[in-house]
């Protein structure tokens, strides 16, 4: 065997080993991220949700708000189906144009997020330098006619150890409810129920109602794991240099049978160059 062929064999063997590691990681569930640390609590005795939270590879299909539904099939009304087709064929992903993704899309995102919790408010900080600041006050009521926004009018309250965030007043233009271009209307009502079952996990149970676009309410649940102490949100200026914006097509592109975005059978890249390191 020549030296070069031997080198290729070694690369192939190591690559297989590493890729097997990838596959192994992909099979990890959040339960595999063991925690023996108790839920941290505030001076008032409530769970402290603060932390830098990262998704896990078992959230599949990622970026799909229908993740927990059989076949990822959303219960679209005829109007919802028409809105979906409009999103797929006539709109560019708003988030790629630096428009706020909003809720519940941010909860389905692959990007980590950070929570800073105070006594009467809680802040969710997102990459792209977006945030939402939510009052925690059981006595506050929704406005009669809230100004539409991407995160909606959000009200927080404690129910035992669960932080409930109830949101209405959403926009109905330039919004995708997830990365697959699924729609929502201005009738959207989102109820998030956040818990921190131990020191290293945060969990949300989400109820999504939208009588214009969906025939019935549906749910989306997810767990994230705590990042390392030195991990935090950093500057990520979405609109700094959007060369890509002029080249983006409508919709997210093909959606695979597994509910993710992308091509099923991509062409392989040319083989790596057999170059010598200088």
């Amino acid at each position: 065997m020549s030296a070069s062929r031997a080198g290729v064999s070694v690369v192939a063997a190591v690559a297989v080993a590493v890729l097997c590691g990838v596959a192994g990681q992909a099979q990890l569930s959040v339960a595999d991220f063991k925690s023996n640390r108790p839920t941290p609590r505030t001076a008032a005795g409530k769970p402290d949700l603060s932390g830098y939270w990262k998704g896990t590879t078992d959230t599949r299909p990622g970026g799909n708000i229908g993740k927990d539904l059989p076949g990822w099939k959303l219960p679209l009304t005829p109007a919802g189906e028409a809105a979906l087709q409009h999103n797929l064929t006539a709109t560019i992903d708003p988030e790629s144009l630096c428009i706020i993704g909003g809720i519940p899309r941010h909860n389905a995102s692959g990007l980590p997020f950070e929570v800073l919790q105070g006594a009467n408010k809680i802040a969710f900080l997102y990459w792209y330098s977006y945030f939402r600041l939510i009052p925690i006050d059981a006595n506050r009521k929704h406005s009669d006619d809230p100004d539409p926004s991407f995160f909606g009018e959000e009200l927080g309250r404690w129910e035992g150890d669960t932080l409930v965030i109830d949101s209405i007043g959403f926009k109905d233009e330039k919004v995708w409810i997830d990365e697959n271009a699924n729609p929502h209307s201005d009738a959207l009502h989102v109820v998030e129920r956040w818990t921190r079952p131990d020191g290293d996990h945060i969990h949300v149970e989400t109820l999504i109602e939208d009588s214009k676009f969906y025939t019935r309410p549906f749910t989306y649940s997810r767990t994230w794991v705590l990042g390392k102490p030195d991990e935090e949100i950093q500057e990520y200026a979405c609109s700094e240099n959007n060369v890509d914006a002029a080249h983006l097509g409508f919709g997210p592109g093909p959606i695979r049978p597994d509910g993710t975005r992308g091509y099923i059978d991509p062409a392989p890249l040319p083989p790596p160059l057999p170059r010598t390191v200088k």
């Binding site: 690559a15 200026a237 975005r261």
Partner: protein, 131 residues
């Protein structure tokens, strides 16, 4: 062996990279149009939400053509070992990637062979593109 380790480093970085896609790969690029571009580095934009670098190359007829190469975000690339200082104007760079769906001279630079022979991943992690 150094090159072998580079390949391993790239794969390991991809294995541990956080999902950080700004948009779906398939919204911009055509996975059926793989391409290799070899050219001279003329400009670098180490910016969010993607870095861009520009190569002067030649087409199949020998005519000059300028390629725009798109990769991931600076933070994600730096964490996997692809740093701003790796791109020096005048370098000969090889990019293996996929062409833009709209036919522009724009490529998703998923594998970048630097002037010193190192291979780094330029992919936007979690974008659904070919691995």
């Amino acid at each position: 062996m150094k090159r072998i380790l580079s390949v391993v480093a790239v794969l390991a970085a991809l294995a541990s990279a956080p999902l950080a896609a700004h948009h779906s790969f398939a919204a911009e690029f055509d996975a059926t149009k793989a391409i290799r571009i070899m050219g001279t580095l003329t400009k670098v934009e180490w910016t969010n939400p993607h870095i861009y670098f520009y190569l002067d190359a030649k087409d199949e007829q020998g005519n000059p053509v300028r390629w725009t190469c798109e990769s991931g975000a600076p933070g994600a690339l730096t964490r996997r070992g692809f740093k701003r200082g790796d791109l020096k104007l005048g370098d000969t760079i090889v990019v293996d990637g996929y062409r833009a769906k709209n036919g522009a001279n724009l490529v998703d630079a998923r594998r970048v062979t630097l002037a010193d022979g190192r291979i780094v991943s330029g992919a936007s992690a979690g974008d659904g593109g070919p691995q």
